[in-house]
């Protein structure tokens, strides 16, 4: 193949992607920043809303830890309030923070920039997606103020208790919760269509699927999972809403409540659990896959080395996504379902460890003999690997039916899922914010404050969740407001609980350092320049930082290579951006075997 560089349109094969598009042009401040159709502004709206509601859930976790560590010291935390805090904390963190932040926030910001598009393909629908998300958040918040308060049914909202008297928020609270979830699903579907079609149809010339950065792959597959999985949440929310309002009996069996026979009969509560976890397990990977993708890019960029096994990484993402749909009932081992199902689901669950371990090995092998720059994003990325492995290994315990039965509903489960899908993805969120903040604002975040934030968060979360495994082994149950005079729980467990609570307060306070850093660096941070990390992907090659509406100035970039040309042998600089043609790569000396073009 010749190595001449073509700048002439006619030299290129017609792109499988689209050319120029008519951009929406905002005319006023409101059009630019409020009712914006620019994916980057929508991304920031999504991210700020998600972080805002996430802080509410963080405060809830403090209140829970206050009760668990130092029982009965705070008067207003009654058993009902405690259950409401548990439920809202879980629901907000999983759906309204992590899902919205990874897909709505990072997805919106990074997909168009990384694939070389001017914007999402349907900007108007994209805008609607955000406003529906905001409506869902408002409905959720409204449930704090209705009589009875928000639902206290746990984040899983299992019927029949979720809609029976006696459960906190069993009237207004649960209705608002279900409606909010339905609105969220509709809003997400609008955004998700955008992400998928933009990746499929709006890639710039030369950006083949196999040249996409792994961040885009992760977000893309997570979006597909969400598009197929969220309907299950919608179906279960809708049917429960009908049980509650119209008196149908989809999930509600015949019941006697306070001596009265209720009008329900014949419904199947297990059906709800199946539907809920049919969404609920893919949800774990809706959060994890973008984290996997982002962490791959962070590690490769800051270790100055190409990602180990790119194709394997892509396939692992796909296989994890596929398998995540056939493991849902491992959340239901104790539900009384057919034991043979348990055997099937335990097998599929353990198989997921294979592609996941592949990814972990590839990250570690990427670090191996890399030129590691131990800056804040890299610290968070490495911390993610540790935390994810820790949380993943306890997943192997819980995936086995016989081990799960005694550990189910104990603090062990809480420790497991917080490590694997709470802390691990949040560490990636932080790493990603430290990494892309310079592109979003044009200024660097403060490195020193970043390191303080990192060490307190990393060590602190281990101080919270590591001891929690031991509490689980002792049989300390989850969701309990207080333990009373339970004999099997020794005094040491209570002091351990107090220690965990103190660690939780410290970690929470460390997040204020992060928020301070975000705010102050916006005004006073060191100017970042266009490409402070010397990264190869397209978002760092924009003519303006922060990128203007339309992203790439007059001409869309042309892509000649994958996203991981770091430390290419025989090349002067240690990285080659994706849009640099082979002929323009400055060679150090001609080395026959290390010809950078490879063509």
């Amino acid at each position: 193949m010749t190595t001449h560089v073509a700048h002439d349109e006619s030299d290129f094969a017609p792109p499988a992607e689209v050319g120029e598009v008519e951009l929406y042009h905002p005319k006023s401040f409101i059009g630019k920043y409020v009712w914006s159709q620019d994916a980057k502004v929508i991304a920031i709206q999504y991210a700020l809303t998600a972080i805002g509601i996430g802080l509410v859930a963080l405060v809830f976790s403090w209140l829970m830890r206050l009760q668990l560590g130092f029982p009965h010291r705070v008067a207003f935390i009654t058993p009902s309030v405690y259950l409401q805090l548990v439920s809202m904390h879980g629901m907000i963190m999983v759906i309204y923070l992590l899902t919205a932040l990874f897909l709505g926030g990072f997805g919106n910001y990074l997909i168009p920039l990384m694939v070389g598009a001017r914007d999402m393909v349907f900007p108007y629908v994209n805008m609607l997606s955000y406003w529906l998300y905001l409506l869902a958040v408002i409905l959720l918040c409204a449930s704090f103020f209705v009589p009875g308060g928000p639902t206290g049914a746990g984040w899983t909202l299992y019927p029949p208790q979720a809609i029976l008297d006696g459960t906190p928020g069993s009237h207004g609270g649960i209705i608002l919760m279900l409606v909010s979830l339905a609105v969220f699903v509709i809003g997400f579907t609008m955004g998700g269509l955008n992400y998928v079609v933009t990746v499929l149809q709006a890639r710039t010339r030369g950006m083949t699927m196999m040249r996409l950065p792994l961040t885009v792959w992760g977000i893309f597959m997570a979006t597909i999972l969400a598009l197929l999985g969220f309907p299950a949440l919608f179906v279960s929310a809708l049917m429960m809403l009908l049980d509650l309002t119209l008196g149908t009996s989809f999930f509600m069996p015949a019941l006697v409540d306070k001596g009265h026979q209720l009008a329900y009969s014949g419904g199947n509560p297990l059906l709800f659990q199946h539907l809920f976890w049919f969404f609920g397990h893919p949800e774990v990977y809706i959060v994890a896959l973008p984290a996997f993708g982002i962490v791959s890019d962070l590690i490769s960029t800051h270790a100055r080395k190409n990602i180990f096994g790119y194709r394997m990484m892509v396939w692992a993402i796909l296989i994890i996504g596929g398998l995540s749909f056939v493991v849902w009932a491992h959340h239901m081992y104790v539900s009384g379902m057919n034991p043979y199902f348990g055997f099937f689901f335990a097998t599929t669950t353990l198989i997921i460890a294979v592609p996941t371990a592949l990814k972990v090995y590839n990250w570690v092998l990427t670090l191996w003999r890399g030129n590691i720059r131990l800056n804040v994003p890299m610290l968070f990325a490495i911390a993610f690997i540790f935390t994810f492995v820790n949380g993943g290994l306890t997943g192997l315990f819980l995936g086995n039916v016989v081990v799960d039965l005694p550990l189910s509903d104990t603090m062990f489960v809480v420790a497991h899922f917080h490590m694997v899908m709470g802390i691990a993805p949040v560490l990636v969120v932080f790493g990603a914010i430290y990494h892309w903040y310079p592109k979003i604002t044009g200024r660097m975040l403060d490195e020193r404050l970043g390191k303080i934030h990192f060490w307190f968060t990393f060590v602190g979360t281990y101080a919270i969740f590591y001891p929690m495994h031991y509490l689980g082994f002792m049989g300390v149950p989850r969701r309990y407001y207080a333990f009373g005079g339970t004999n099997f729980i020794p005094d040491s467990a209570h002091s351990l609980n107090a220690a965990i609570s103190i660690a939780a307060f410290v970690v929470g306070a460390a997040q204020m350092v992060f928020l301070y850093n975000l705010a102050v660096s916006y005004f006073r941070g060191r100017p970042a320049g266009g490409n402070p990390w010397e990264a190869t992907t397209l978002e760092w090659q924009t003519p303006d930082t922060p990128p203007k509406h339309g992203n790439f100035g007059k001409e869309l970039p042309v892509v000649y290579r994958w996203a991981y040309d770091y430390g290419v042998p025989g090349v002067k600089s240690d990285y080659i951006p994706q849009n640099v043609p082979p002929a323009e790569v400055p060679a150090e000396a001609w080395v026959g075997t290390a010809q950078p073009t490879g063509a």
Binding site: L228, T248, F250, R311
Partner: protein, 233 residues
């Protein structure tokens, strides 16, 4: 849930096949000076068409889960009491088939650039679809008059649920129909008209297919799994 599982497996199988085609014999680490695409001579699909197919994937997942839920609710418990079969459903089905045919006829007309037939076709399909929606609402009134409410039994609940969710999707289609009709009215020669009508037709055929599945579930009383018995209403 087996139905949902099988369907999701099929969809994931499709994605795996597609990715296999993307990755086989590709060496992503090789830089190229000339940007060439495999199959570059194929015309790219319009974004809106891809988006519609992705959306239909989502809707398929939704209906498959509803049907899964129905199968599971039905299989586990013995309290299943079918409701009488509304005769009007057959008429409504015929209306929806007619609407779908009219849409297809409109597609043929717009490909021939026959704007008069396009207008007629759109009007016919719109009227037939509205007739379908009205018919479904009338079935609801009939059932309510006969004393079958959503809370009466699980069978009635699923009857109302299936017809309501399908009807909501039909109404959503009518929004697109209004946009297509306005466009056909104002600028019958607009280049985008053909695409929007083709997409409408795809959506109409899809909803007809979904309705036929739901209709089979509703009325196949002979199989002993139906929502409606063979007693006519």
């Amino acid at each position: 849930m087996t139905i949902g599982l099988v369907l999701i497996s099929l969809m994931m199988g499709g994605i795996v096949w597609w990715l296999f085609r993307q990755t086989i014999n590709v060496q992503p680490w090789v830089a190229q000076s000339v940007v060439a695409q495999a199959g570059a001579d194929s015309v790219p699909s319009p974004q809106a068409r891809v988006a519609l197919w992705v959306f239909l994937g989502v809707v398929t997942s939704l209906f498959a889960l509803f049907v899964s839920a129905y199968a599971m609710r039905l299989g586990g418990f013995s309290d299943w009491q079918p409701l009488p079969r509304p005769r009007l459903l057959a008429v409504n089905t015929a209306l929806l088939v007619g609407a779908s045919l009219a849409m297809q006829w409109t597609v043929v007309a717009v490909r021939r650039r026959d704007s008069r037939s396009v207008g007629r076709g759109l009007a016919a399909s719109g009227l037939l679809t509205l007739g379908f929606v009205a018919g479904q609402l009338f079935v609801w009134t009939q059932l309510r008059a006969a004393g079958y409410f959503a809370s009466t039994s699980a069978a009635t609940a699923f009857f109302y649920l299936f017809t309501a969710v399908h009807g909501a999707h039909v109404l959503g289609g009518l929004v697109a129909w209004v946009r297509a009709t306005t466009r056909a009215w104002r600028e019958p020669d607009a280049p985008g008209l053909r695409l929007i009508i083709e997409l409408c037709a795809t959506y109409w055929h899809y909803l007809l297919a979904v309705w036929l599945v739901l209709y089979a579930l509703l009325v196949s009383g002979e199989l002993g799994v139906a929502i409606c018995s063979s007693t006519p209403l």
